[in-house]
Symmetry: C2
Subunit: 172 residues, 2 copies
């Protein structure tokens, strides 16, 4: 296996539910991007708000000159659906297999189908369920522009629900 | 001009900084997607946490059967770089021009280059600056899976900064 790499990704989101697919934009020069393209797989590891220093470091440092996993105290666990490991300290992880790539200026956008997910039992709404409790997950959020890390705030409303009150108020 | 449409988008993020490009995944059946593809432009309008009901309604209702702008009390303002209007009640808006499209399962991913941005003076860090204060923006955040709307939480650390303490700790 190639020596694993890790980076901090902010240009990343789900793009399709069927099949569940993530897109991630990375600068073409990133070392970890070469590893991802060589193996055809990657994992997405959601850090908690207490991991800001480790995440920021992984975005700043180069795996070519230092051992980022050792310094940031990140433990690798073997993937179960792909050959790519995921990070134990992150309570939510997705294993992805590349389905498509696109060049956008000096960035490469990699599309990855989510083929496996891992969640610590501690972040689930109920032990036998598959829903993640956002307060328990306590994800680290990156705000571009101002370049701040933030925590997630309080719940405002239920989605696919609060807007029903307005349905049918005005017809065409 | 075509009658404008509006929807709630969650599968959306920046994918490239050079040129600044947003990608957005939409179910192929969405009416507003047809409008976007017909005009070749769209605007991204960031709602505040107080707009949860309006946003949720825009995601649930169809512009074919009701006037979503009237019901949700959304005011359209003319774009300055494109022919697509943006929403005045959202304090941050981006005008985008489609550069590429990709089909991912039953979703269409639209890439749009950001050709203009609008920010209310009230959300800026300083009146003459171009940085958005995240507390003043107070964006509505959608959490998939659990289907909750949330607010943004407190600042944890400065990005491109807090991780410097770990640089060079371990060499290769």
């Amino acid at each position: 296996m190639e020596s694993p790499g890790v980076l901090a990704a902010s240009w990343i989101n789900i793009m399709s539910s069927t099949p569940p697919t993530i897109a991630m934009g990375l600068r073409e020069s990133r070392n970890t991007l070469s590893l991802i393209r060589a193996t055809g797989t990657f994992t997405v590891n959601v850090p908690t708000s207490s991991m800001a220093e480790a995440v920021d470091y992984c975005g700043l440092a180069s795996g070519k000159v230092e051992d980022k996993f050792e310094t940031a105290r990140l433990t690798l666990r073997a993937g179960t659906a792909t050959e790519t490991p995921f990070i134990e300290e992150c309570p939510f992880n997705l294993e992805c297999r590349i389905t498509e790539q696109a060049t956008v200026g000096s960035y490469i956008v990699v599309f990855g189908e989510i083929v496996q997910s891992h969640a610590d039992e501690s972040i689930l709404v109920s032990p036998d369920g598959d829903l993640v409790d956002m307060d328990k997950l306590d994800p680290l959020i990156y705000c571009a522009g101002i370049r701040e890390y933030r925590r997630l705030g309080p719940k405002v409303a239920d989605a696919f629900s609060v807007g029903r009150a307005l349905m049918g108020v005005s017809g065409r």
